[in-house]
């Protein structure tokens, strides 16, 4: 083959000699640039949890139990198992309930107010806990009353998140990294949590309900995963804060 010394024909075995040095430098530059870009962009990757996520309250110690845990079940706005007070936890502990995967615990409304035993595995982040149940809950007797304390009306800024991710199932977060995922969870009847940007009465995690105290995903769905400011009444139900919010956001 004859031709220009700087003209490379793609099907020839190797580039002309004058081009080889340029191509070698280019190849090395591409490799070096690739790893530098990878490290740089990897380092700058957004943390979907945000710096303050999960630091809203005093962390509760790990829940230790054998096979099953027993407590009083409440069903509104979402199923919660309330465990009795224990040393260091005078209000007891409140376990959000869900199934295995992005599904709720099922229809347990008939067990509300009863003492219920259930197994599964516990998720925990800060002061929020969830029991992902592995088998059918069982009523073992009448439940203890769950105290409800009214804490007044609040305007709170935060994000609507699903309780499973908020409890440590995944890295929860603001917006994109979590938005559709959280919506899928909530559509599967996982409890909705309002994650406040600052603690409210000692906790940044509030079980979300509408003004009537019911789960109302249809009303809150457009707000999931976005930074919003909502107004409503806050209650403490056992160890769990409940935010009975108006689904219409308040201007910041």
């Amino acid at each position: 083959m004859s031709g220009s010394p700087d003209f490379f024909i793609g099907w020839s075995s190797s580039p002309p000699r004058p081009l080889r040095r340029f191509l070698a430098v280019l190849g090395a530059g591409v490799m070096a640039g690739a790893i530098a870009l990878g490290i740089g962009l990897g380092f700058a990757a957004d943390d979907p949890a945000g710096p303050g996520f999960g630091q809203g309250g005093a962390p509760v110690p790990a829940l230790v139990f054998e096979e099953r845990v027993t407590g009083t079940l409440t069903a509104e706005p979402y199923p919660v198992l309330h465990l009795p007070p224990s040393p260091g936890l005078p209000r007891g502990r409140a376990l959000l309930l869900a199934g295995d995967g992005k599904v709720g615990v099922g229809d347990v409304a008939a067990m509300a107010g009863q003492s219920v035993a259930m197994g599964g595995f516990a998720l925990r982040r800060g002061d929020i806990e969830m029991l992902a149940t592995g088998d059918a809950p069982e009523v073992v007797g009448p439940g203890a009353p769950v105290p409800v304390e009214r804490l007044g009306r609040w305007r709170i800024t935060g994000e609507i998140c699903d309780g499973k991710c908020a409890s440590g199932g995944m890295r929860p977060g603001i917006g994109l990294a979590h938005r559709a995922c959280a919506t899928l969870c909530l559509s599967g009847d996982i409890p909705a949590i309002f994650v406040a940007t600052a603690p409210v009465e000692g906790s940044a995690y509030l079980l979300l309900a509408d003004a009537e105290g019911r789960a109302n995903l249809a009303a809150f769905r457009p707000l999931v995963g976005q930074r919003v400011r909502l107004e409503g009444e806050v209650l403490r139900q056992g160890a769990m804060l409940v935010f009975r919010a108006d689904p219409r956001p308040v201007a910041p």
Partner: protein, 342 residues
């Protein structure tokens, strides 16, 4: 060039090309998913799945940017031409990375649910109908589908089956895919990200690509020569030995006038393979050689040497007083024209 479809002919140059390509991708992914986390404080460390989602997606975008930059770079600096020959390897790898990104998303954000992952991806957008939530996922899916179509038709079988003009028009869809990918990332940033790092890289990449294409387009731009028959095309002295000048004519394809061993020949400037710019090629072994993929044509009749069958339109020339005159009426592909001494 080829008239049949067989196993890929591997040359040392092609092996080096793919080795650098795969090596660069591997280094980027290792840097992103393994090395960067070592520098990140534990308090803001990402989980492995989220890291892989971001690493695959950003790698696909950066590789696509690089692939699209090769064309204008090669026009601005001929030393980049060797990158063009196997550019389709970049396209196929871009699709593979984009697919890996999509599968990671489906396997993480849309998994563990009774709703099938694809259904969940298309139905879980909470802000449907509200800005800026809606366009994010659809733009990503659009880019992935286009990349799939282009990767699937990248083989020369499809080029011949669809014909070069149709194939080339189809593959211009890569720019739509790129625009969709930019929109996917920019909307993603508005939806969520607090750190402008990657959206900055996205906008800078798109700007660089636009600038390169504009620079390359302006550099090669010539006013078309008016005239329906014979027109003055160039000064004979301006046509380099072994090379060509390209003449834009008012009606029809641009024409490349080559000089070989002191004689001039004119053919269509568009290679029969992928419409590559023949006038930017050279005469090698007595044949016009396309700078993109090395397709060759005889100067006098525009035919590829046997056993190949491609043909170019040829044009009549005459030289008077050192000026080259061209008959802009194209002769049928493969028509013999006596080269003109000049």
């Amino acid at each position: 060039m080829s008239v049949r479809y067989g196993v890929v002919g591997w040359t040392p140059a092609k092996r080096w090309y793919d080795a650098v390509l795969l090596g660069a991708i591997a280094l980027y992914l290792v840097g992103y998913t393994e090395l960067a986390p070592m520098l990140v404080p534990e308090s803001r460390a990402l989980d492995g799945q989220s890291l892989r989602i971001k690493a695959f997606g950003s790698a696909a975008f950066l590789l696509l940017t690089f692939a699209l930059a090769i064309g204008p770079l090669a026009r601005l600096d001929r030393r980049f031409l060797p990158l063009l020959y196997n550019r389709r390897h970049l396209g196929v790898m871009t699709f593979a990375l984009a697919l890996a990104h999509a599968l990671e998303v489906l396997g993480w954000h849309f998994a563990f649910s009774p709703t099938p992952p694809l259904v969940a991806a298309l139905s879980s957008e909470p802000g449907l109908g509200t800005w800026p939530g809606t366009p994010f996922v659809p733009f990503g899916i659009l880019a992935l589908l286009i990349l799939f179509a282009l990767a699937a038709t990248s083989h020369d079988f499809w080029l011949n089956f669809l014909t070069p003009p149709v194939w080339k028009a189809l593959h211009l869809g890569i720019y739509l895919a790129y625009a969709a990918a930019v929109a996917h990332q920019v909307f993603g940033y508005f939806l969520a990200a607090a750190n402008p790092g990657f959206v900055g890289v996205t906008v800078a990449s798109a700007g660089l690509l636009l600038g390169l294409h504009l620079a390359a387009g302006l550099r090669g731009r010539r006013a078309p020569i008016l005239g329906a028959e014979w027109v003055r095309a160039a000064a004979a002295a301006d046509i380099p030995e072994g090379g060509a000048v390209v003449v834009e004519v008012a009606a029809g394809e641009p024409v490349a006038i080559f000089r070989n061993e002191g004689q001039l020949s004119a053919v269509s400037n568009l290679c029969a393979h992928q419409n590559g710019p023949l006038g930017e090629g050279r005469v090698v072994d007595g044949c016009i050689t396309c700078p993109w993929h090395g397709f060759q044509y005889r100067l006098a009749d525009g035919c590829a040497p046997a056993p190949y069958t491609e043909k170019l339109a040829t044009y009549r020339l005459r030289v008077e007083g050192g000026e080259v005159f061209l008959d802009v009426r194209a002769c049928p592909p493969g028509t013999y024209q006596q080269p003109v001494p000049a």
